[in-house]
Every structure is written in structure tokens, then in C-alpha cells.
Amino acid sequence: MAKRWFPILRSEEAEKGHVAQVALLGKEFAVWRAGDGQINVWENRCPHRGVRLSLGTNTGTELKCRYHCWRFESGSGQCVSIPSIPQRPIAKAIKVATYRCAEKYGYVWVNLEIDTDLPMVSALEDRPLTTLRSLFTNASLATVIESLSAYCFLPENASNLEEALLPAKLSKLEPLTFEAKSKDTAIIFLLQPASEESTVIHAAVTAALTGIKRLTTLRHHNERMEVLRDLAESSASRLKTPHFEPAQQIRGN
């Protein structure tokens, strides 16, 4: 599972000056963009005392840990400043664990294994895209995938509102990539398994939208995706409910 590219954040949400906190496969990552635009995906843990780096400060060139202000440089993750011992050279071994990352199709992607290729989703290649609001969902990847077939939305050229109630035609493009199509409108789902019990649902419409049209589409799909999330979460909580009768209470004498 780990040996592939995962989408973890919409690119525009990796704001300069910010450190995003992201989960993937039960691990946490600090994601930050340097002033020169470089994106960093790091283990969310300072190598000094283990504090979450997502609590720290993005200085534009370095990420500064909240606890003892050690600074780690963009790109390499190398420690470049330890304020308590300013005179001493810093060992090369003092370094944050960094991961291979890329930006494509409007998302930040990470690969936890060494891999030479860039992320590639053929359905998104050379297509105009509008990325939608990603939803953190308290349900496993498998449960989310099961729920996807219930996704329905109002297609571009709908003749009436009832068409929003017809389930879209779902196809699996890749293990974590799905397409839901209604009439001529397609939405691509990109799934991020955050942990065994949670999944982030990313989605994009294959059309370049602007202005009011874009906002209306964002709101419509957000509303539909929240219905999808409710469905996945209620199946997840049903799965958690034990399927046995409570034992009869035994009265002691």
C-alpha cells in the first residue's frame, strides 16, 4: 500500500507562512511551502524532543520547532540552527525525516518509498480541473469506497433537479482513484487513507470553472459529498457496533 503516490492536500491550501498537519496510513506529516514555492512533506516530529513540527513556525526558508527553536531548512530537512549552542557546528545527522513529494493536478502528493516517477492519473492528464473541498471522513478506505457508488450530483446540462437524485455511474480508475459520471459531467475522487479508521476524500471536477459558476459548483459538490460522508460514517459506526446480545446480568447473593 505504501509504495505509491498519495494526494494529501490541495496545493493552494499549502499557504506560505503556514504549516499544515496531515495524516496518511496512520502517520502524521508536517506540510509546508517555503517562500520560494518549494513544498516540503516531513515527518511531523522534531528529531530533538519529538514535538510536532506542525506546531512550529514556517519562516519562509526554515521550519522552526516550537519547543527549543531548532531550525530545519527547506528541501533537505537539515538542522541549521540550535540557539542554545550557537558556537558549535551542527552534526549532519540532525535532520528531519523528509519524504518525496510533488505537486500535480492541483494537489500535493507524497510517496513514502523511493520512486522515480511522478504521480500520474491518466484521467486527469491534460484536463482542465477544478478541485473541490476535501473532506476528512471517520471511516476506513474500504467503507468510503463502498459508499462512493451512492454519489449523486446535478450534472452540467441537467434538465431538472431530479437528475441530482440519480446515482452517478462509478468506475474505478486506479486503486485509490474513482470517476463518477452523470450525463457528460465527471468528478474524479482521489482517496487518502489517513488511518485505519479515517479517509480524506479529495475530488475534482474535470472543467475549468471561474467566478460564480465555480462557487456554485463547489457548494453543490460539498453538500453532496457531506451526504456521502454521512453515509460512510454511519456504515463505519454500524461496523463498530458489536453484534452480540448483552450478557444477562448475574446477581450475586
Binding site: L9, E13, H18, A23, R66, R133, F136, S198, L215, L218
Partner: protein, 209 residues
């Protein structure tokens, strides 16, 4: 001179310290031993606030309780630019009142979870956390769509209002009650923006940017 009956670890008292700092108002602090002393339940304090809650202010004899009410009063009385609470704009007044009430719900859930975990209050902790998460989903969605329209704040595209101040502390302290903000990326960006407001001050558990 304003006197603030204050407890350092209280997010509700912190709301008033923030606004007074943003507005550049001088104030005097009357420290209340909330924990473990329970001074807010002492007879003399109940004379000031029969609810036995912090904060309370005394502005030259004008006594007012309730963090949200005090935010409205201080902004109306001392913010002559009407940035923090534009009482001449009825829609803005309505929106701000809506989010002040939302902030009160954050207090009833996320802050309650923190009191349970840190000051040993006897509460249904799972219920507090579940309800806080439900509120944070609503706030995250609201802020995400605000960002899409280049609006950085809860009620206004131009500047923060007392609605932002009211929602900030107990959102920012949620992890002290076991409520992670990892699922709420738009809330995390908004708290960063909040910390960059000129005059921002900290409280224990809330760090500068």
C-alpha cells in the same frame, strides 16, 4: 478604569484581554483563584455575578458579566472605528450575534472537555468531544468557503470582528481536551491568521505564530 476579574487559564477571560490589547485599552486585573480555590463561587463574588462565572468587568461602576456580552460592550464603547463590532450595520450585527452564540457552544463542549481533562470536572467527556467535533466541522466549512471568496475572517472580508475573538480561544485550546484539529485545515489556517493580528497576545497553551 476597567477592572477585569480574571483567571489566567480561562479562555473566556483571555477573549477580553485580547480585545483590550487590540484596542489599546488600559485595564486593571483582579485575580480570581478559580482553581483550586473556587473563588468564583465565594459569597463576595456571587454578589458580582450570581452565576459564579468568569469573566466580569467593572468599568467605573458599570458591572457586566459574560465574555460575549463584554466583547459587545467594549467594542461598542471603545472601538471608535467600528471595525470589531459595526453596530450601524444590521446584517453584520446579526451575523456577529450568531457567531457569538456559536462561540458559547464551543465553550460548552471543547472548553468543557478541557476542564474535564485538566481540572478534573465530572462531565460526559465523549459527548463533549463529539459535539465539539460537530461544531468544528461547521466552522471549518464556513471558513473554507470564506477563503474561496477571499474573506479571511468569520464575519467580514476586511477585518476580524469580535466573532473571531469569541471563537478563537477554545478552538485553539481544543487539544487540551483531547480534540485534534487535524481534520480542520481551514480552521488551522484561520488560527494562524488570527495570531498575526497586530497586538496579539498569548495565554498559557496558546503560542505566538
Amino acid at each position: 478604569m476597567i477592572t477585569l476579574y480574571d483567571y489566567e487559564l480561562s479562555g473566556n477571560c483571555y477573549k477580553l484581554r485580547l480585545l483590550m490589547r487590540f484596542l489599546g485599552i488600559e485595564w486593571a486585573t483582579q485575580k480570581i483563584d478559580f482553581y483550586p480555590g473556587r473563588e468564583h463561587k465565594a459569597d463576595w463574588f456571587l454578589q458580582l455575578n450570581p452565576l459564579g462565572q468568569l469573566p466580569v468587568i467593572d468599568d467605573d461602576g458599570f458591572i457586566l458579566r459574560d465574555a460575549q456580552a463584554i466583547l459587545v460592550y467594549l467594542a461598542s464603547e471603545y472601538d471608535h472605528n467600528r471595525n470589531w463590532y459595526d453596530q450601524n450595520n444590521p446584517k453584520m450585527v446579526g451575523r456577529i450575534a450568531m457567531w457569538l452564540s456559536f462561540a458559547e457552544s464551543i465553550t460548552a463542549t471543547a472548553s468543557a472537555a478541557r476542564l474535564h481533562d485538566n481540572l478534573f470536572y465530572d462531565l460526559d467527556i465523549e459527548k463533549c468531544r463529539t459535539e465539539a467535533h460537530a461544531l468544528f466541522r461547521i466552522l471549518d466549512e464556513h471558513l473554507w468557503f470564506a477563503e474561496q471568496e477571499e474573506q479571511n475572517w468569520i464575519c467580514s472580508d476586511k477585518n476580524p470582528t469580535i466573532a473571531d475573538i469569541a471563537c478563537f480561544p477554545y478552538t485553539m485550546l481544543s487539544e487540551e481536551g483531547g480534540i485534534s484539529r487535524l481534520p480542520y485545515p481551514a480552521i488551522r489556517r484561520w488560527t494562524d491568521r488570527f495570531k498575526r493580528i497586530p497586538g496579539f497576545i498569548e495565554m498559557p497553551g496558546i503560542f505566538p505564530i
